[in-house]
């Protein structure tokens, strides 16, 4: 890992930026992280904890209210955006963690993790937008 081993005779000379792809991936992560930070706890608290325990009503407890809410395109879009953000947050962060635990092949790890996120989002879009 001496200079000559990592950089060759030319000296330290990585490709200068701006690396717009990485910039975009990071900006997407930052925005997704903010969105999830702001809205996820509310959903999980109401839908996942209070409502199943009977401590509060929630729109997903009954077919009538759930189907009615999900027939609204704005609701579908909102949920898809939040779900896409959650999957993207997972993909982006896990990409870095896997890499830092010693799995080399930045490109492969990146493609795999963002691919998982994209696949999950595609499934979510299908489920939300093809309701009977």
């Amino acid at each position: 890992m001496s200079t000559k081993e990592t950089t060759g005779e030319a000296g330290y000379a990585p490709r200068p930026g701006p690396n717009r792809l990485q910039g975009l991936l990071w900006a997407g992560f930052a925005n997704a992280a903010v969105l999830i930070a702001l809205v996820a706890p509310a959903h999980i608290l109401i839908q996942g904890v209070l409502a199943p325990l009977g401590l509060a009503p929630s729109f997903d407890r009954k077919y009538s209210t759930f189907a009615s809410a999900l027939s609204d395109p704005l609701v579908k879009i909102y949920l898809l955006v939040v779900i896409a953000a959650s999957f993207y947050l997972f993909g982006h962060r896990t990409r870095y963690v896997i890499h830092e635990l010693g799995v080399h092949g930045k490109l492969a790890v990146g493609l795999a993790m963002y691919g998982v996120a994209a696949a999950g989002t595609a499934v979510a879009a299908y489920l939300l937008f093809t309701l009977p």
Binding site: I36, I46, A51, P52, Y63, S86, L131, P132
Partner: protein
Amino acid sequence: MNAAVTHPDGAPGPAARPRTHPYRQPFTWWLRRRGYVLYMIRELSALPIAVWWVLFLVEVARLRSGPSGYQPLEGWFVAVSVVCLAAALWHTYTFLSLAGLIMRIPLGEGNVPAKTIVRAAFGGFVVLTAVIAGLMIWGGA
């Protein structure tokens, strides 16, 4: 080590580069400092959040069973949701706390104080939580 090579002008040339011992990071590097462990927890908090939304999509898929067939998730779902809620709150706490550090917003000759940004972020969180909870509860009534 090779003997120094003298140049025609008399100055000694570079000796051969000495052998160095490389550093290898152990797989358990993240256990070595509290900061590393907290970092791992912060990053992995994204997993339970994603898992919870997968469970939500299970409910959405169940809508296809029709009015008589639909069953919301119950029982174990609460226990899983508690774990996911803890992860979500940890993500919220760590990310919004860092918002003031990430964003530099010029104000006059200086910047908006980081504390102000953080307080605004947490304030926004409280407001949005109330709004969304309200909407879900109203939608379920």
